[in-house]
Amino acid sequence: MLQQTIALIIIAFFLARLYWQKQKNYIGLNEFIFWLAFWILAAGLIIALKFIDRLVAGLGFSSSGIEILLYLTVTVLFYFVFRLRLKLEKIEKDITKIVEFIALKDK
């Protein structure tokens, strides 16, 4: 219970920070919505931890709910790293286009 309360306080801090960033226009609407949904989902999962424990046990996993959440989080993080890699690749290509344009300008 204490751990859940601490986790919810941390999430509340990040939500407040997110709201402040949006107010100051440091982030766009899409990014705001994404992180808002992310933190609300995280809070929901923490509140429903007992239900997740039962769900996980019902599905036949021997791990507890929080462990399954951890595995899922790592998977999601890997996915984000992968997306970042693709994004970098696109930026690299754009840089090359600019370099090529400069090289061929007036030639």
Binding site: T96, A103, L104, K107
Partner: protein, 222 residues
């Protein structure tokens, strides 16, 4: 037929002047693409009076060849030759690699180090018997390309073919990509034996893996 030769160069101040002197008599125009060198490569090329295209930062051999090829296509080339600046290729082979395009026997010609066993005799053993067969197998499995030399950087293409071949890879994976594009367009292809003087090991096993990784990422991005 106007032959344009594209030579990408990155930190090749020791070789570039000699390469220019060797290649210039064999091409109507010599295009040096300085790929963001930190040394005096660009100065030497400018002093030699050849066409110099400058990448303001290093973007890789594939990107430099693309820039040079675009220049050639915009300036009336009939045949475009890709050549290296490190002095490993022999300039006399330019005559042989352009001949099949001149007489209409091919639209794209690749130089191969493996058509004449004498030419690959001085290839490092690890490269000859391990890396090259692996690269050849990768080309066959992933791209259905069945050329004798899987990573030859010495090639010639007609302007018509060059307009249709587009390679996206900035670094070393462009070799496989060009071969794949040539196969996809059903161009008339020939391979001719070329001799290579090895001054360094060149592409190693991990370089080969990097090429596969780059091609895989490119497939996902596209």
């Amino acid at each position: 037929m106007k032959i344009f030769c594209v030579i990408p160069a990155f930190n090749e101040e020791k070789n570039i002047a000699a390469i220019i002197n060797q290649v210039r008599p064999l091409a109507d125009r010599l295009v040096i693409v300085d790929d963001g060198s930190n040394d005096r490569t660009a100065d030497f090329a400018a002093e030699a009076g050849v066409i110099l295209l400058k990448h303001i930062i290093n973007r890789g051999q594939g990107a430099a060849l693309r820039t040079g090829t675009k220049y050639c296509l915009n300036n009336g080339a009939d045949i475009i030759v890709h050549f290296d600046a490190d002095g490993q290729f022999l300039s006399r082979d330019i005559k042989h690699i352009t001949a099949p395009i001149k007489n209409g026997a091919a639209q794209v010609v690749f130089g191969s180090r493996f058509l004449n066993s004498e030419h690959s005799a001085n290839m490092p053993i690890l490269k000859k018997y391990f890396i090259m067969p692996l690269a050849k197998a990768a080309n066959k499995i992933f791209f259905n390309v069945n050329l004798t030399d899987p990573q030859s950087g010495f090639r010639a293409m007609s302007a018509e073919a060059a307009r249709k071949i587009s390679w996206q890879q900035d670094r070393m994976a462009h070799c496989s990509e060009i071969m794949f594009a040539v196969k996809n367009h059903n161009f008339k292809v020939q391979e001719i034996p070329i001799k290579v003087i090895y001054r360094n090991f060149g592409q190693n096993f991990f370089g080969g893996l990097k090429i596969l990784q780059d091609l895989f990422i490119a497939m996902l991005v596209n």
